[in-house]
Symmetry: C2
Subunit: 308 residues, 2 copies
Amino acid sequence: MSGFLNSWNDGEAKRAIIDFVSRVSDGNGPDFVPKVDRIATFDNDGTLWCEQPIQVQLFFAFDRLAEMAKADPSLKDRPPFKAFLERDLAAIKALGKEGAFRFVLTTHSGETPENFDRLSHAWLASAQHPKLRRRFIDNVYLPQLELLDFLRAHEFTVFIVTGGGGDFVRSVSEEIYGIPRHQVIGSSVKTRFEIDEGRADMVKLAELGSFDDREVKPANIHLHIGRRPILAFGNSDGDLAMLRYTKSSSYPSLALLLHHDDAEREYAYDGNFALSPLVEALDRAHEYGLTVVSMERDWNRIFGDQPG
Amino acid sequence: MSGFLNSWNDGEAKRAIIDFVSRVSDGNGPDFVPKVDRIATFDNDGTLWCEQPIQVQLFFAFDRLAEMAKADPSLKDRPPFKAFLERDLAAIKALGKEGAFRFVLTTHSGETPENFDRLSHAWLASAQHPKLRRRFIDNVYLPQLELLDFLRAHEFTVFIVTGGGGDFVRSVSEEIYGIPRHQVIGSSVKTRFEIDEGRADMVKLAELGSFDDREVKPANIHLHIGRRPILAFGNSDGDLAMLRYTKSSSYPSLALLLHHDDAEREYAYDGNFALSPLVEALDRAHEYGLTVVSMERDWNRIFGDQPG
């Protein structure tokens, strides 16, 4: 196993991962799981990349909505546009995660997916995190990139299951995670098929299709994957249904919960501090069979550009 | 290219396929398409396997509903149960494709996906086609299996996009097509997340989620794949939106339409004969840039167990 998981400290979490992956991929062992059933699902915000002080896509919305307000200044006084244009984090958090995302996702109506993809990709290629002073896409967690590689080396198929917009994450998923777009499941808006002068396109509508959080995560996992995961990784109560669904597999399974307890190198938060609360999943981790990963204790590096 | 597409006769369709696939996978040519964008989508009923006299899943429903009627005899007189229990094809066709599938898909409410999968797989492993005298799953078209192999050899990622139930097709998609479950997009019902004595499961509901036909096909392609196909294959007006969406790619693209014109070896039908009408797609194939594949002229074998 050398060469894998180098940013993970020896400890319960790393041992649980290595033990689990070894057991399910050992064709001669009693816990073997056929390759096609080796499905792993990862939350994105706060699990694969930093979600503080608010989710990356909400920063994207700041810039998109500012563009829209140039064309239509009347938006400036209309809530919740106003909160976003003024980057009023308290007002945005007061909307709740679903409220904030519902608003943001439906502001792209009229765009084709291809045009949205260009906007999203161009923004992510350059936009910087205000505190950590690197690009948002450089705020992916190195230990998680190593875990994705470790799982793929053991012939897992890895999916992202995010409360954020699926199209937003897809615009960089191959580049930053090596995860193909069709293995990204996220929140979505409805679309309309249009034919204009013989050319057929999809167009985004201002109506939410699915807000991929809490009980909707396992529903979308079934809809998109058609198999129950045997490994899942999350960091909030929004991931709890997915984690418990995974732990109820008839195969051996592993459900991991990242605890952000590292104020020095990243952020320290739980409870209701963030837009994605972490209360029940942490309090009842033992009862639900979740393996808690401490950012402070279990990871010796967090970001790729930090020294080890 | 020898060893590929042996069941395809030399002709316009085979030449169009070979020419297209060669061009988009030639890294030095002007029509090169990166691997990640080599997405192919296939309809299932009537495109990959036989859909006559009615779709395979409706035969499955005959047997499932007979089981249900044993437990509740009052169903026998209730439409549309009655039509299915009496195998009254005319009455079923009168429901229309969406009506028939909506009814069938919503009769599995209360089942977990895992239990449905066992029922569906067990039935498909043995159930026989009434006229062709082989199992339904042996009614897959050999030339199409060769085409799937040809595309995969050129690093296409292949998806099924079916009006039938996604879960029904998934129960055999790996076995008969080599297509992973998460690359099967189909009609679906809504599901509910349930926890019972600490065990988390999904349960199918009696409410349609998506009927994956006509304009819904490109919408679901966007939702599940996040990329526009460059090759699509269908056989009815229900596939036309997907075919035109594909032909409107900014890359070179190929849209194929199978015409069932072989009464001797399979069936001959178009117009409104089948539950899936074929009118506009055939009449306007040239205008829309569709390549029509004639079962009679273009395929020298149809099923794997027939002599060449």
